[in-house]
Symmetry: C2
Subunit: 368 residues, 2 copies
């Protein structure tokens, strides 16, 4: 537990330990309901409740087995333009990714803009074009929105909130609590690209091999992974998680891969062991991390996912990922264990083992 504080600190927005404490002590406590309490990246809404609705004389909608995924994120990244993207592309991709990793097909987005007075309209238009292009390429529609303008000095150029709705196919049961001992831990590619790109922009660093954010929509990659398992072999029936081979998908954003793995280890009550030498990190990212004193395991990604997959299906899923644009460097980086439940253990390149905890404090504010 952290030292008690009576004020909001930057670390409350880090995605790490203080963020988790804030969510549990404040939001879960007061917004008390079982859907929120799952704390997955998107809420999955059951149709059951709706069957009993009756308004005036209008008949209720006829619903069969039907689930929606619903998610939201605000984007406050600084600077708003960076190599590989901008706050708008990030806002569209981030919400698509929260839907996709919940197993939903992303369909509709909302867009809420909080704009600082004095922002150049040309900058806003560039962001909006970026959002439109990203949404169109991803096959989602931005169907509702809102604009607020605050006086100069009361915001920082542009904040964007996107909420998203997707449809969860019948039988899809992904979740942070679905992971089982023996599962393969598959990472879709290199880590740290987004965070170190933003950081180097702020610090004015330049490298021979320029850093580029990995910001990308991952629902196509998820679809390719699911398609590869169709039709599923009979033997998966006993693999747990509703008989499906993919048990959990997560996009390791704020707090990085280490924090995401800790969340899953905790929710599923399992241990996770990962191999440092297999985790892909670009040279430029590694160099920047060393220069600035960061551990790539804790640096935010915006176009990567980690999959927890039944061992029998791991090679099929890995091959499907490697064949996809956004999974070419995918690798099985570790295994889920029954031992050391709730903890993540790293086998280092030096041959030692160490426990990797959740992010503590805030190392990279306003990374997304």
């Amino acid at each position: 537990m952290s030292e008690p504080t009576t004020k909001i600190l930057l670390a409350h927005g880090s995605g790490g330990q203080l963020s988790h404490e804030l969510v549990e002590r404040l939001f879960l406590k007061h917004f008390d309901n079982p859907i929120l309490a799952r704390l997955d990246d998107a809420a999955v809404l059951q149709a059951g409740k709706w069957a009993s609705l009756q308004v005036g004389d209008l008949p209720t909608c006829r619903l069969a087995d039907f689930r929606l995924a619903f998610t939201t994120d605000s984007y406050v990244v600084s600077p708003i333009f960076f190599p590989g993207g901008d706050v708008g592309k990030l806002a569209v991709c981030g919400t698509i990714n929260d839907l996709a990793t919940s197993g939903a097909v992303p369909l509709y987005l909302s867009a809420g803009f909080i704009i600082e007075e004095g922002l150049e309209l040309a900058d806003l238009e560039q962001v909006v074009v970026s959002m439109a292009t990203t949404a169109q390429a991803a096959g989602v529609q931005i169907v509702t929105g809102d604009t607020k303008v605050v006086d100069r000095g009361k915001a920082d150029r542009l904040f964007i909130n996107t909420a998203g709705i997707g449809v969860v196919p019948i039988g899809m049961e992904l979740g942070g609590d679905q992971v089982r001992p023996g599962d393969a831990v598959i990472l879709s590619g290199t880590i740290g690209d987004h965070g170190m790109t933003i950081m180097s922009q702020r610090e004015g660093l330049r490298f021979d091999s320029p850093l580029v954010s990995d910001c990308a929509p991952l629902h196509g990659l998820v679809a390719a992974m699911l398609d590869a398992l169709s039709p599923p072999p009979q033997s998966w029936g006993g693999a747990g998680g509703g008989g499906r081979a993919i048990h959990c998908l997560r996009d390791p954003t704020r707090g990085g891969l280490a924090t995401t793995l800790n969340e899953v280890a905790s929710k599923s009550g399992v241990g996770i062991e990962i191999e440092e030498r297999i985790i892909p990190v670009r040279d430029a990212v590694r160099a920047t991390c060393e220069l600035l004193g960061f551990d790539p395991l804790y640096v935010a990604n915006e176009g990567k996912l980690v999959a927890f997959v039944a061992p029998i299906a791991a090679d099929v899923v890995l091959a499907a990922m490697r064949a996809h644009e956004y999974g070419q460097e995918a690798a099985i980086i570790g295994r889920v264990t029954a031992e050391h439940a709730g903890r993540v253990v790293l086998h280092t390149t030096l041959g030692t083992r160490r426990i990797v905890g959740m992010l503590v404090g805030e190392q990279l504010p306003r990374i997304c």
Copy 2:
């Protein structure tokens, strides 16, 4: 048309003319799709598209006639606490009201917090408790959320985005384009309470009759109005708007009643005539408006709606509204006409007639 500007002005967030230009020239242009283009307060999503979804080997969901409403708003009100509410209550009520006035039953909300470093945790908790209490009383659940913290001086204490999902009953066809000549214009109560409460807090004004925001969730009022029309008389079949008697509901927030009426007149291609002497305004609101030079017709409301109702049903709807907690001062304030299409005409207390335009510029920044 306003003077061209290359920078975002406060008036771009006013809800008035510059806001409309920004939406049309930027957001509609680039996010081009027919759902957004309707520019109602909530997007109504058809199920048709979803029927063709296929992901992996999973069966698609079985959908009958089914529509969702989806809406978003960010709340940047200053101060965050005010008589009658706070930014949290406002965020829950505002999104409920956008769903309710689209004819939907509000079900689920998301909550995205952008917090300035240094905010007192006790203040955040007070806002969260207010949101929880309001949501619980309204029967909606906050099921997903996000927290970002920005460095001191880069936001102003607390901004909240809420997005909302509701179910639209079969046959419900409300919309800004559904209004017909002859429709009664029914206002649910007094205008200007919210805006003048915020303004007087900022100015440090005090009155014998203290100002209180009207911030309230209106879905119960809408349900009461619909219930009153059940079962509908046969004769409504020819009243237009899908045979239903209530053609359009709007909550006149930013830009006030005048701007809302202008939006509807424009979208339905009708004229609207309203009687100044019938529009209820509290004495304290009128006094504050006179003192500060505001016109209550342009001041934001957060617990009022205006209904456009087929004439045969107007008295029934009015009676139902007056019997409801949030409609006790409801009044038929005017009529829809075929003449002066697209314009709103005010019959003043002086016996004159004048055209009431959309809000130009920004009179009350950060009112919601």
